[in-house]
Symmetry: C2
Subunit: 348 residues, 2 copies
């Protein structure tokens, strides 16, 4: 067997090692760190190579590749979305990702991203809410208590100072699971029996349900003035959660308009429906919240740059830990022209 060179070995973070890394850093510190990395990439949004994700649709789901590059590093995420999976005991969303060096084209990190996507999605929501939610927000309604709900709750605690989570799910067992998981985190949870009850007294309304349909989780008359809506679950064609009237009364902030117009809540609206690109709020080019009465709405679908930020963070953090090992992923013969010779020598 020939010995691969250093460059032929790609550091790999397994699910098990990702969980160890998360506990090593701490869930809340990691959510804060991720929010900071994501915020810094929103600051330099304009220099990224941006493209809507490359999707392969089937009757039962979608498989997507989400690439982007800042000119020095290149990252992509593989992610599936299969709403019917849950009923079959599988994850709706699984993901892994890769970071590569633009100068050589060689990968420098391969990592699980199911856990990491849950963290980066929550960190993004809370980073955005830091800019848009009413000052002093201490209560969030969490509607839809699936796999993302605890991460959303903890990120809002760690980054925005939220203290109370009002839980609602059409399946009460999901709310009980979420409340139990959050019991030791310092968050106060209240299990509610209707969406109307959940949003009572909440300044931040987070919707994150899984059904693939044009649903109305929040109807127009439920949403009063002076709230921030963090809409997570409207994230693919044919899947929305909010009544159209809410969008008409809100100031809508998005990640990457060409993708959000296809996948987000605003797929319900005309093509010229006014939205603000959130990066312009981060850079100060556009105001975020401008009045106490305003309804702000983050129509979040998840964008490749957020995964890129998460990949950068893992590359930086995992380096000095034991939470990775090397994969022999790249053939790298001593003489680059002698790939066949490398193969022949391996026979011996």
């Amino acid at each position: 067997m020939s010995t691969p060179s250093d460059k032929a070995l790609v550091p790999f973070v397994s699910v098990d090692n990702m969980m160890r890394l998360i506990h090593h850093i701490g869930v809340e510190p990691m959510l804060r760190d991720l929010a900071a990395y994501i915020e810094s990439d929103f600051h330099r949004w304009e220099l990224f190579d941006k493209t809507p994700r490359v999707a392969s649709h089937s009757d039962v789901g979608v498989i997507e590749l989400m690439p982007t590059s800042d000119g020095e590093a290149y990252g992509f995420k593989y992610v599936n979305g299969h709403p019917k999976n849950t009923a079959e005991g599988l994850q709706t969303v699984t993901a892994f990702g890769l970071l590569a060096d633009v100068y050589t084209g060689y990968p420098v990190l391969l990592t699980e991203m199911t856990m990491l996507t849950a963290l980066r999605t929550a960190a993004t929501s809370a980073m955005v809410a830091k800019y848009l939610a009413p000052k002093g927000s201490d209560t969030m309604a969490m509607i839809g208590n699936g796999a993302q709900s605890e991460f959303q709750s903890l990120a809002m605690k760690a980054i925005c100072g939220v203290e109370t989570i009002r839980l609602y799910d059409k399946d009460r067992a999901a709310s009980e699971k979420c409340a139990a998981n959050l019991a030791s985190t310092g968050l106060k949870t209240v299990i509610c029996t209707s969406p109307e009850q959940a949003i009572e007294g909440a300044q931040i309304l987070t919707t994150c349900t899984a059904d693939k349909q044009n649903a109305t989780i929040l109807s127009d008359n439920m949403v009063g003035a002076g709230v921030h809506i963090n809409a997570i679950g409207g994230d693919c064609p044919g899947k929305t959660e909010l009544a159209r009237g809410i969008l008409e009364r809100s100031d809508v902030f998005v990640e990457f308009p060409p993708q959000t117009r296809i996948e987000g809540e605003i797929q319900q609206m005309p093509e010229d429906f006014a939205v603000t690109e959130f990066w312009q709020v981060v850079t100060g080019q556009t105001p975020g919240r401008t009045s106490d009465r305003q309804i702000t709405l983050f129509d979040s679908v998840g964008f490749a740059i957020e995964d890129f930020s998460a990949l950068r963070y893992i590359r930086d953090k995992v380096k000095d830990t034991p939470y990775h090992y090397d994969l022999d992923l790249l053939a790298d013969p001593d003489d680059p022209r002698d790939l066949f010779g490398m193969l022949q020598r391996a026979k011996a």
Copy 2:
């Protein structure tokens, strides 16, 4: 630590294991097998989800994702192209690939594809030459004696019955390396001092050089009637190997026209330059070679379906061998909604 379920584990074929698998099967039998898998996917070409590759360009190279799906399986390849890498002791091209189940979205195979791409490229060339090269072809000119040259030579032997390889490279050391590597394969090799000398008596002319420029490896007056040109190295914008006059005198066969018009030899020609999609030759809808005097030209740039065939083959072949191990790549909690609970339990 929680135990991942079977579905959370993805079989991984490292470079070392790929080389063991190749020797276990044998290089020539594997080239024949791969050609058969590729040919069968060309037969059902129309049912594939096809898209030009998704490229991220920089000053020094390109990183590409090449996805495709037949509706049951989904595959993609990550591949870079950095011509300057060779001078720095790195591979111009490195690659890895993934196969997933369309029904669940879960990956079922992760594999190195630097070695595998070399094999599938050669298998594709020879499969095409089987249809297009003059009957009884026994001699190939191999112009450009880099990493692909031995694989091309052996595939033409295994699949088309070629016996003699006439080698030319502007760096004689590359030809000597190729001749030495082929010494024990049963192929006769002749090192030539010019392209003109290399093509003497050859029925198949293979060009596979690495410089990123519009070069003229074969000039118009060098190419006589009744040959098959296998043009490998014209494979990205600004990189061609053949004089325009050759294209005008040839019947040109391509993989996927929207990609070849950007990347192949025909990037030199008007947008309506007539080409034949090679899959139509495989299905019998269009004739291949129709006369002894004809010049046939396979303008090969490499297409995602060929990688898909190779991924299918590795999935089928590696199953009953020890040449893979499982990667803990996908988080898969017992209750799909309880990702956070899985994370919490991992702390214990």
